[in-house]
Amino acid sequence: MTELAPYSSLTTLISRLLELWPHHGDYVDKSFADRSPEVTATSEQIASCVLKLAGHTAGGLDGLCNDYRFLCEKIVLPEELYFRRHDRYRLSAFADALRECYTNAPYMARYMNGLLISNVVWHNHAQAISSYMREYLPSLGDHTDYLEIGPGHGLFLYFAAACPTIATVSGWDVSPTSIEHTRTALSALGVTRPVNLTQQNMFEIEPGSYPQRFDSIVMSEILEHLEDPIAALKAAAAWLRPGGSIWVNVPANSPAPDHIFLVHDLEHACDIVRSGGFEVTASHEFPMTGATLEKARKRKLALSCVVVGRKP
C-alpha cells in the first residue's frame, strides 16, 4: 500500500474511517496499492477538502464516514445484486428515480455524503477527479468561461475557482436545494472569488434564457442519471462557443438507485459524446478498486469513463 504518512489529510481521513469500519481495510489497501504519487497527491487535496466540509456537516467526519459505509453496504450493494442478476440497472425512468431517491432528503443527504468520501477511497473516482485536476484544468486556455452542470458537492468548482486561466466560474442545477448545498460547500472550502451558482435548466436553450456562453463545460456523473444523455449533450453543446470543450465523467456498469442509463464501456461513452455533437479529443477509463482494466472489462465491473470533447 502507498505510504500515507506524508499525507496528513489522507492519514486523518483514512485512519478514522478504518477505526469506524475496520473490515474496510483490505479494500482501502487495494485502492491505494497502485496509486501513483501524482494521483495520491490529488487525493490528499480532496481529503483536505473533505475534512473542511466535515467541519460544516452534522455529525462531522464520523458522520461522513458512517454515511460512506451506508452508501457501500445499503445503497450500492443491493443495486449491484440486481445488476448482476438482470444485467441492467433496476430503474430506467427519471420519474422513478425522482420518486425513490431525489425526493427523500434524509436518504439523499447520506448518499451524497458517502459519495464525497468515495472521491478519496474508490480507485476509479479518485483517478477520474485526479485526471480532471492534473490534465483537464491545465489544458484550458486563458480567459476561459467555465460552467459545471450539476456541481453537487462542489469539489470540481472549487478546483476550477483556483485555476488561474479561468475567467468566470459558473454552476447550474435544476434543484434549488442542490444549488444551496454547493453554495454552502464552496463557502466552507474558503472560495472567495465569484462563482455564479444558478438554478437553470440546461435544456432551456432559447436565446435570452441565460446571458452567457462558455468555453468549457464539465458534466461529472450526470449522464447516467438521465433518460436521454445524448439530448443532454446536444443541449450542453448549444451553450458552448465553437471550439469549446466538454469534460464528461460517466460510470460504466455502476449500479446505483438513481442510475437509469447504463453505459457499457469507454467506447460506448465516446459514442454518446460524439452523438451529442462533439469531436472526442481524449478519453480514459479507470477501473474500480481491486480490478485491472482487463478484468473490469471482462467481468463488466464498474469503470469511470472520462471523455473530453470539442465542439466543432
Binding site: D26, Y27, C72, R85, G290, L301
Partner: protein, 91 residues
C-alpha cells in the same frame, strides 16, 4: 429442467462443495484455487464485496435458487455458503 433440479436436490454436501469450488475458480479466474469449507474471503485476493455478489449470483444460476438480499452478505466462509445452498435446495 425438472430433471436438472432433481439432480441438484439429490446432491450430497461434498458434491455441492465441489460445484461451488468450480464456480469460485471461474468467478475469480484462478484455476489453481482449491477452496475448502473453511476458505474465507481473506484467503482469496480478489474476493471483495463486488466479486462476492458476482459469486453468489453465479451460485444462484448454477443451482437454480434465489437468495434473500440479506443472505448474500452473511456467509463468512465457503462452508456457510454450502449451508445456504442446502437450505435453499431443501426449502
Amino acid at each position: 429442467m425438472r430433471n436438472a433440479l432433481k439432480r441438484v436436490d439429490a446432491m450430497t454436501r461434498d458434491e455441492i462443495l465441489s460445484r461451488v469450488a468450480e464456480i469460485l475458480r471461474d468467478v475469480f479466474d484462478d484455476e489453481m484455487l482449491q477452496p475448502t469449507a473453511s476458505t474465507t474471503s481473506e484467503d482469496v485476493a480478489e474476493w471483495d464485496s463486488t466479486n462476492h455478489v458476482r459469486l453468489m449470483v453465479a451460485i444462484e444460476s448454477e443451482f437454480g435458487i434465489r437468495f434473500e438480499t440479506d443472505e448474500i452478505t452473511c456467509p463468512e466462509n465457503v462452508g456457510q455458503i454450502v449451508d445456504l445452498i442446502e437450505t435453499r435446495l431443501g426449502a
